[in-house]
Structures are given as C-alpha cells and as structure tokens.
Symmetry: C2
Amino acid sequence: MLIDGLQYCNWSPKIFNQWREGGVDCVHVTIAYHEMFRETVANMEQWNRWFEDYHDIITLAYTAADVEAAKAAGKTAVIFGFQNPSPIEDDIGLVEVLHRLGARFMQLTYNNQSLLATGCYEDDDTGLTRMGREVVEEMNRVGMVVDMSHSAERSTLEAAEFSSRPIVVSHANPSFWHPARRNKSDDILKALAETGGMLGFSLYPHHLNQGSDCSLDDFCRMIADTADKMGIDHIGFGSDLCQDQPDSVVEWMRVGRWTKKIDYGEGSASNAGFPDMPVWFQDNRHWQNILDGLAKTGFSSHDIAKIAGLNWLEFFRRSFDPLPKD
Amino acid sequence: MLIDGLQYCNWSPKIFNQWREGGVDCVHVTIAYHEMFRETVANMEQWNRWFEDYHDIITLAYTAADVEAAKAAGKTAVIFGFQNPSPIEDDIGLVEVLHRLGARFMQLTYNNQSLLATGCYEDDDTGLTRMGREVVEEMNRVGMVVDMSHSAERSTLEAAEFSSRPIVVSHANPSFWHPARRNKSDDILKALAETGGMLGFSLYPHHLNQGSDCSLDDFCRMIADTADKMGIDHIGFGSDLCQDQPDSVVEWMRVGRWTKKIDYGEGSASNAGFPDMPVWFQDNRHWQNILDGLAKTGFSSHDIAKIAGLNWLEFFRRSFDPLPKD
C-alpha cells in the first residue's frame, strides 16, 4: 500500500497514469486553497467528471475500505482535502455538507489568520478562536481530519490538545532537520505522536535541507531520526507534489485575494516560482527511489510498509467515519 | 444638524417618519452583521427600493455634502455600514466595490476573530492580521472608515496607529463609567482623540450604567466627563437603536453561522433578548430629551451642536472621499 498524504498537481490523465505507473494506491488531493464554498463544489464537479471519464484508473474514496477496494481493483483512490477553511466560509453547517461530498481533510489555516486559527506567517498566534473550537468539535463529530500543515505553533498545539480525535500535519518536515517556517518543532512532533496523529514527510524543496539539491540519503536519514523521536506508527508521506503547475498557481496559493501586493511566502522575489523537485523525486514514477533509500538507511521492510502507506491507512480507518451518536 | 452614528432597526416607513418627527438629519445604518457579499448587496437592493418609494423623506448619502443637501431638502440622509468584514469575504478588491455602492463604515470585527483583527469576546488578541493591515490601507485609500466598536483592545489601538486616516468607535461608552466588555478603555479614548477619530455614545442598555434603568442625568454627566478626557470635537451619538427587532435578530447578531450552540454575548440565558430602552430614549422622537439633558448638565448650545451632529459631519467630510492619488 502506497499512500501520498498530499499532492496539488495540475491534474490530467497523464498524472493519473503516472500514479498507476508508480504504484500509488491513494492520494490526498488538495481541491481548495482560497476557494469558497461554491468554487470548491465546482472543483469537486471537475473531479467527478474525471472519475467518470477515467473510472478504470481513479476513484473517489470516502473511507479506508474504499482505499483498499480501489487497490484491489487496480485503481488509485483519491481523497479530497482543503488547505484553508475558506470552503466553509463563516458557516459551521458546511462542515457536514462538505464531508458528505467527500472532503476528509481541512487545514484550519493556510499561511494567514483564518476565522479558526493562526497561520505560520502571522506575527502573533492566538491559538484556536471561538469559532475554531466549535469547528474542530464539528469536524471531530462528522469525521473530517484537522490538518495543521500551514498553521502557527500555538494554534497547532492547541488543536492537538482540543481535538478529541487525532490531527495531522499532512505535509511538512521537522525543524530539527531544516528550520524552515513551515517545518515543525519537536513539541509538535511529540504532540502528533502522543495523540495518535500523523506527520507526512514533504518533498517540496523549500521544506528540504539544501532545497532542490537535498540528497536522497539525507532525506531518508531525516526520516530515521524522526522515527526515533515519534515512533514508527505516526509517519508517512505528504509529498506536496505540484507537478505541471504554472508559476501563476503558486502566486494564487500565496496571495489569494487578501492583498493587492505580491507575497512570496516561502519563496522570494528572485525565486518566486515553483522550485525544482529533487532529481530523485521528479514525479509519481519515482516513489521506488525513496523506498529503496529507506531500505539502504536500515529500515526493515515491515517499517517501510508502514511509512509507505499502512500508517495512513490505519489513520484513515480511525478518522473518516462520524463519531458514534451518544 | 442631528446625526446618529449607528442604528440597526427593523426599518419601515414608520421609523423613517419617526426620523423626520425627531429631527434626525442623518443615520449610519448597519446593513450587514454576518452577511457576505451577495447577501449584503441584497440588503442594499432593499434600501434602494426604500429610497425609491420614500424619496420625499430619505436618501442615500455618499458624502458630507449629501448629508447637508438632504437636511436642506427636509430628508434624512442614510449612510451604509457593516458591523463585520463579512461583506468583503476574503477579497480585498471588494472594499472599493462596496465603497462605490455606498458603504462608508466597516468594523474590522464583530465579537469574534475575523480575517482582519480580533473581536472583544476572544480570549486573546493578535491585533491586526496580515490581511487586516492590507485592508486598512485599502479602506484608507478609497474612503471607508475603520470602525472598531466590537473589537478587542490591542486590535483597536493598532488600528488607530496603523490607519493613516482617523478611525471610529461608532457605538460604545467609556469603561470608566460602565466597565462592560464592549465599552472602551481610557487608552482607546485617548487614541481616538489624538488621531482625530470619533466616539459615538451608545444608548444600548448593556452599555449603560444601571442598564435600562440608567438615568438621563447619569448619561449626560458621563458625556461631560468624556468631553473632559477627549475634548469636545471627537464625540457624538451612536445610539445602537434596534427598534422593532424580534429577539431572533439579536440571536443572529451574536450567533451568525459560527456555532451550533447559542452565544449570549452581552446578554445571558435569563436575559437573552433585546433589553428595554431607557424611558427617556424609546425611539427617534426622543432625541430632544438628550439635548435638553446636555443643556441641564451645563453644555453650551455651541458644544451641544457639535455633539449632536457637527462633529460627525466634519468627520464625514474628512473621511468619505478617496485619498488623492500621488
């Protein structure tokens, strides 16, 4: 079982075929950054057309069982998620509606303050807001996973504590390895592990030591060091692969509609676009390089299977269904 | 000139006629609490019908000159405002669009955290967010007034400091008189006065010493004490009159769509609805009681004229036009 905890590609049949070629059984796909409800539904409609047209290779997954069934049928399972709470706008009732339509992950923030919590690019971090606490409780109830990938430190720790179900950082790396603003502190790694959550290792160059020049060996040793800290059960992949996207898209991700200026986020004026992926992970056909790297680093095949997908699968099993009614 | 800095009535021809009967020349009316862009435009459409149907007594004002012209024509001038930034959603471009449609005041928050700043019912206050600073700059540019009536302390002080144009608290009273959560500290009063802003005195019972039983004399003495602190040029009225509203409306104001529970805001489970107005200010026909009270308290007719409307008019003159292009 090979599961990628986050991708945001410029989706096409080419990429769906590369999923199959690379043996990717399941991908959590981002379908909203700044899109609000109606725009998010339109993005779901586009996916529904793809599920109809390419039904022999891709299918929407609502549950862990759907992911297993997809694998058995030789298809890649797609799980919907949002990198911002924009799709629920100001309306807690949209959590249940969007879950029904397939959404299984929602970040409480992208880089900025949201109605729910604080993003990692703000100067100050209030933690969960009043609405944030209400929405986390509702996400817990319906089975939508709280994702804190782009959130600030206090907000992330409060979400881990307040949420009655495990939370995730679907795509980031540890700060101890590469102290980027988007990477996560030891306190967060500890909170994820202790509460049964997940960290998905990112392959986005801004999150990598040495950026695009990061070596496979260095990346795999970081995974080994993180496993030592967090245990083997709470780690997986979250590649953040943004294949075939034009640079206008990374501008939309960072700028949305909140400013009239340009915000470079993790980039800079001289490096504003998408960075080059490492040579050993150019697209979904290269996952075997990483699995081989992990073996070379000393992981057992049992542990590699967990990191590659079984941990995410087990997490999905515990997370996507509504809580039993009391 | 008699100007009320904020009302949120269940508008009707009856109330428009009471405006005329009470000699009210201009009212800043709230047309959005939690309404988003499209819903706000629908509320403007309703007002446009009223302006068409009752053109002999009410008219929309875009400028201070419009207010003066309305008075000369024997009409009450209406100024549009929002008690939350919901109408701009996540889109800074909507500031200019909504200004063009008549909006002249926007609160950066209602009671909760917004995308721009922190409301007075949150536990913690980050001040202006990244988007908040961008939006204040855009409001300054187009001539939309920053209103911090429901915002938390730090956010309010930062808005006063960051904004290049004066800001207001359109409807609240000083904490030194009645330490309600919605009333304002001496630091805020000082910041409003020093930056050329305005405080509108509220007649909403939760903001009054002794609530609905507040005496006219006590209210007028509070105005005198505030004038001593702030000077005579930065104070006016902002009655917060919510005439003829059913209690379901105060629930909407407080709860919006952010929680599935009930939030009582300034009220309580045993006092959840709109409070009774003081006997000396039941509706717009009672403004003369307050003007008489101010005279009895010792204000000169010159100073009463300033408080009654000339201060707001002068503020409008400085605030509603776009900044000159550089």
